[in-house]
Amino acid sequence: MNATKVSGRKQPLFYRLPVISHFRSSVGLQRGMLVTGMVLAAVFLLVAVFAPWIAPYGFAQLSDAAGPFPTQQPPTPAHIWGTTVGGYDVYSRVLWGAQTAAVVIIVAVAMSIFLGVALGLVSGYFGGWLDRVFVVIADAIYAFPSLLLAIVMSIVISHGQSSFWGGIVACSISISVVFVPQYFRVIRAETIRLKAEPYVESAKVVGASSIRIMGRHIFKNATRTLPLIFTLNASEAILTLAGLGFLGFGIEPTSAAEWGYDLNKAIADASSGIWWTGVYPGTAIVLTVLGLTLVGESINDLNDPRLRGRKKAVAGKGGPDSTAGAQTALEAESRVL
């Protein structure tokens, strides 16, 4: 990603896309991690999109032509992953759960990016008392246990539980409250750094408006680390959603399938040795988060010259701005840590 800026001659757009360029500069183990992550993430997305066609039953379906579903039944040909205490088909709910998770990630991360980037640009560019107020608030939120904040928000928004879209929006807002400060910090730091660059100065001299400078000159250069934060946040969003669902502040089971809720019900099952209600949705969470984290982790390593694999020198790498990128990347990583 950085290579193209330094080497002067532009490569085709396709090769400059975040994940693609990372793939091209990766070697050995890192390439393996990136590919594994991409495959897992792709499977997750495919299941999310095609859940209505793949799943044998609906997520809230309790009976079919052959009569009502049995409850707590071990895996059988009719219900390949068994049924829950409420009589839901575990396999179908796991597949539908991917859809819920994907929608929540997209809504939550889109909201946080929009708000966080806008606030970060304004705060970093103008500075002054507004900046101080934003920073103090962001720091306060940042230091707070994110799950607690999400719980409080979900109670405020939906009084606990609600319909599919109501629940999705409530969960997404609860999650984005946690994420906005992260985007805000990264973008603000980059904006402050870029504000002093000669090309911003010259844009000012030429008479460009503040909005134009922020939107064209700073925004494009300040968003280099966003793909990284996006993947890391996407995985955190899944965990937060599942955590909310597990504690009973998520989406109602009749409105959507949600892995966290299913695991909540499965805890009681586990004590009596019923494993299939918990193991499948839990594994789904782990694999999804694993995939997204592997992608994020690889991007992070590839952005950081200290961590990038050293087996093969890549021409044009390690330009002047890669250390700054690494710094922000590390900053972003330490949050997830």
């Binding site: 101080r132 920073v135 230091a143 409080v152 109670i155 599942a242 805890i267 004590s271 694993l290 982790e297």
Partner: protein, 363 residues
């Protein structure tokens, strides 16, 4: 990088009082300035939580609405002062919090502070156990990972670290329950101790609420074993979540220090790779770990809520969920504010410790 190292960073943007800059940053001044930075943090959180909780309505309607006749409800709202303007209530609440009074819970009518102390000890015990597990697992594995960088053990360990992060604590808890309690039958399924042990410890003169202390004091080895057996799975579950973080952190930092000139110099003098990792690169790499440990407190407390619910560990997190379900927002508000205070104060302590160890942080 963290809110902790953020303080000196902020200074570059002119956020701290200018007197700090001119004084050249003595340790005393640093600690003082850092201490006063806690107050706005806590204040903002108290304000946020208060207004968020009031968006829903007054706490009494939330908890008892539908259960009491309208007149009785109105009477109770009036008695508690919830019919006054919101700003008056807010100022009163801030004043109360400042003097350490968090009000009385609505559902079981206990002073919030007393309730927090009762259940806080259980959470403290869980957090300490988990932290021990995390350090014992995370630091050695992180060193191995850095030592064997880019080789097979490193790959396995890094994967393990990501897996620790990717597994929600309640799923890890569920798997451990299945494996160790149900199938192997080695460890109890849930709770902090069996009823008999709790009775034995309840007869102590002044129970601390920290079970392994109480069990030791009771001098009853069976009770001690019982408490230990109950704490293994929750500690492992919560500890592994944080262990993955420590592993990655140690690895990244040790690799970073291994590239430093003085390490190269040591290598050129023939110091063995093992010694370089364990002696030369290890200690400087510990500083960021201490800093991040402060941030981990937030993660640990969040994880504790989930772990406690999974194992019916009757601490603050478990109780928080109970009060949330009962819509007792006075109690919820108290617990949330209390946790915010704990996080802010821990961050402060960690900052001071970091400044004591590493003079660079102060300047």
């Amino acid at each position: 990088m963290t809110t902790l190292t953020e303080a000196p960073l902020n200074d570059a943007d002119g956020l701290l009082p200018s007197k700090k800059k001119s004084s050249g940053g003595g340790l005393g001044t640093y600690i003082l300035v850092r201490f006063f930075l806690i107050i706005p943090t806590i204040f903002i959180l108290v304000t946020m939580v208060f207004f968020l909780m009031r968006v829903i309505g007054d706490p009494i309607t939330a908890a008892q609405g539908g259960r009491l006749p309208p007149e009785a409800l109105a009477q109770r709202i009036h008695d508690a002062g919830y019919d006054r303007p919101i700003l008056v209530q807010y100022l009163e609440y801030v004043g109360q919090v400042a003097t350490g009074n968090f009000g009385t819970t609505i559902t079981d009518r206990r002073p919030v502070v007393e309730m927090i102390i009762t259940f806080g000890t259980a959470t403290l015990e869980l957090a300490i156990n988990a932290l021990i597990v995390a350090l014992l697992v995370g630091i050695p594995l992180g060193l191995i990972s850095a030592y064997k960088r880019d080789k097979a053990p490193d790959a396995v360990l890094r994967f393990f670290a990501i897996l620790c992060y990717a597994t929600p604590v309640f799923f890890a808890g569920l798997l451990m329950k299945l494996a160790f309690s149900v199938w192997l039958g080695w460890l109890p399924v849930a709770g902090r101790a069996s009823t008999r042990t709790e009775l034995a410890m309840g007869s102590l003169a002044a129970p601390t609420g920290i079970y392994w202390l109480d069990a030791l004091r009771s001098g009853n080895m069976a009770a001690y074993g019982d408490v230990a057996a109950h704490s293994v799975l929750p500690a492992l579950t919560l500890g592994l979540l944080t262990a993955g973080v420590f592993l990655r952190l140690v690895r990244t930092n040790v690799i970073g220090t291994l590239g430093k000139d003085y390490v190269e110099a040591g290598r050129s003098r023939g110091v063995s790779n093992y010694r370089l990792v364990t002696k030369h690169a290890y200690k400087p790499a510990l500083i960021p770990i201490i800093t991040v440990m402060g941030l981990q407190i937030a993660l640990l407390l969040g994880g504790a809520v989930l772990t406690e619910s999974t194992f019916e560990w009757k601490g603050l997190g478990y109780q928080l969920v109970q009060y949330l379900n009962a819509r007792d927002f006075v109690a919820v508000q108290g617990i949330v504010v209390m946790l915010a205070v704990i996080v802010a104060v821990t961050n402060f302590i960690v900052d001071v410790v970091a400044a004591l160890i590493d003079p660079r942080v102060r300047y």
